[in-house]
Amino acid sequence: MNAVETALQTALEHLAPLNGQVTTPEDGRRDVTINAGDLLEGARLLLDSGWGYLTAITGLDHGESEGVLEVLVHFCAGAAVLTLRIRLARAGGELASLCVLIPAASVFEREISEMFGVTFSGSPDTRRLFLPDEWPEGVYPLLKESPAAAGEA
């Protein structure tokens, strides 16, 4: 087993208490699908054991027909990428903010919040990060039904 696989196995052992569903999307990666309420605990289990760092948070909309929005929280240790996947309802999804563990998570969360409409409870700063002040409330540009350009709707 190479070093990347060993690192991923270690991460999975740390995350075992969450009973997440583990998948291997490609070499060097594991995705662990967990309950929305377990995100903060998952991050704590990884960071407290010194495994990797928070690399990015991706929002992934599955569209109106499926009614699902996924939030992918990526942790990396060297070449190993471990992703905590959380499935949320598209409207009014809520997650616990990671800022208590990682203050730098704030910018990632603000981006997901304004682009997909996910609320991060316990975040010290919930203002918009990229969108302008005059952007209409309740319009989340990275949701699929949101038009790509003015007049396209």
């Binding site: 999307p25 990396c76 203050p103 730098a104 910018v107 682009m115 203002r127 990229f130 790509a148």
Partner: protein, 397 residues
């Protein structure tokens, strides 16, 4: 600050807004620092003054069109964005570019790293009030931009990458130019290294300022030269090698002081390493094709591509649903990582150190915001471009 009798019990707090337009900022961003006396107790950030919505735009463009769009995310490290994208899409398609293409990709990436570090050196010197160093480093940077022009016809968006390989080969004449430039870069880097280590005036602005410990850098997820200056050896060229880095081991430049001076030293030492990599590449440049055949539709799947941009880890998440356009592309630039971390680090520090702390991360707002700069009509240059170039370069020869 006047002290009122009733303020003794509760120290007075001030909020200092900086930006979006501010002399200390090279690009638009908005920072708000809350201070108690001289000590920062709160720091927030607001971006997006030049947001283009590229992540939205990519889903209504074909895989090939996106190559051109994503290269324009950043005007400094354009090549590394297209490289991350190509690596991801090629992984989804199961295509491996020919060895010669992989070598040329890395060669351009290392040239780009050098010009980016020189650009930063100039900006940082300018902010420290060292205008001569700013002029010198930007003049030297022109050498590399000229090389890009010679190889691809373009100084900024070189468009070297294509899905499945590269578009431009290196001629014998171009190889000679690259080697000549590398020699000059090494000579200049030696000069700059001596300067940032020993210049007493610059030393006062950078030594012991904005220190970040290895533990802080690790936990915060700081990346790139900012992390390496704190002794955290994060470098994807070594940790998760891609393209020709799989064949050429890169030496990670580490400094342990974690202060601003260490961030200067790391970047300049990386220039020597870039020069070495380029020489090795040119000595062992594989022969053969430049492109592998790519399918027009990319098979269904999700992939993550991570590359070492000049500022640190660049992260691309790409999802294909089997169509001729991507389903989703998420990109996370090193600046977003580092700005978030540095803001958290500002708490408890002296206000006067903050500008240099921010500069130390080499922030690139354009990458962050995925922004476009629109030149206003009627903005006339008094000099022709050729005149500017000659003015900058002839002093060196």
């Amino acid at each position: 600050m006047t002290t009122h009798p009733d303020s003794a019990a509760t120290p007075k707090r001030f909020t200092i807004p900086i930006g979006p337009q501010h002399p200390a900022l090279k690009e638009p961003g908005f920072f708000e620092f809350t201070v108690e006396g001289e000590t920062v107790i709160g720091a927030t950030l607001r971006l997006g003054y030049a947001h283009r919505g590229i992540e939205k735009a990519v889903v209504s463009r074909t895989w090939v069109q996106n190559l051109y769009l994503l290269e324009r995310v950043c005007g400094i490290c354009s090549h590394i964005h297209s490289l991350a994208y190509c690596l991801g899409v090629e992984k989804l398609a199961g295509v491996t570019p020919p060895p010669r293409a992989q070598a040329i990709r890395v060669l351009i990436a290392e040239l780009e790293r050098m010009h980016s570090h020189l650009l930063w050196l100039g900006v940082a010197a300018h902010d420290a009030g060292f205008e001569t160093l700013f002029m010198y480093s930007w003049r030297d940077r022109e050498t590399i931009l000229d090389l890009f022009e010679q190889i691809s016809g373009n100084r900024v968006n070189h468009s070297i990458n294509t899905l499945g390989g590269v578009k431009f080969d290196l001629t014998a004449e171009q190889i000679v130019s690259v080697l000549k430039a590398v020699e000059l870069m090494e000579e200049r880097a030696r000069y700059y290294l001596d300067l940032v280590r020993n210049d007493p005036m610059l030393g006062q602005r950078i030594r012991g300022i904005g220190t970040m410990s290895a533990a802080e850098a690790h936990r915060m997820g700081v990346v790139g030269p900012t992390a390496r200056a704190s002794g955290v050896g994060r470098d994807l060229r070594v940790e998760a090698p891609y393209a020709a880095y799989t064949a050429i081991p890169v030496v990670v430049m580490l400094e342990t002081d974690g202060d601003l001076q260490a961030r200067f030293i790391v970047r300049i030492r990386e220039m020597f390493e870039s020069c070495r990599i380029i020489r090795v590449l040119l000595d062992h440049l594989p022969e053969g094709d430049l492109q592998a055949r790519m399918p027009r539709r990319i098979p269904e799947g999700e992939t993550i591509a991570r590359v070492e941009a000049p500022r640190g880890e660049l992260f691309y998440f790409i999802k294909s649903n089997g169509a001729d356009m991507p389903e989703r592309i998420k990109l996370r630039t090193p600046t977003l990582c580092n700005l978030g971390s540095v803001l958290a680090l500002c708490i408890g520090r002296q206000l006067a150190d903050i500008p240099m702390l921010l500069i130390g991360t080499d922030p690139c707002f354009s990458c962050n915001d995925r922004a476009v700069v629109i030149h206003q009509a009627g903005n006339r240059e008094k000099w022709t471009w050729e005149q500017f170039r000659r003015y900058g370069n002839e002093a060196l020869r």
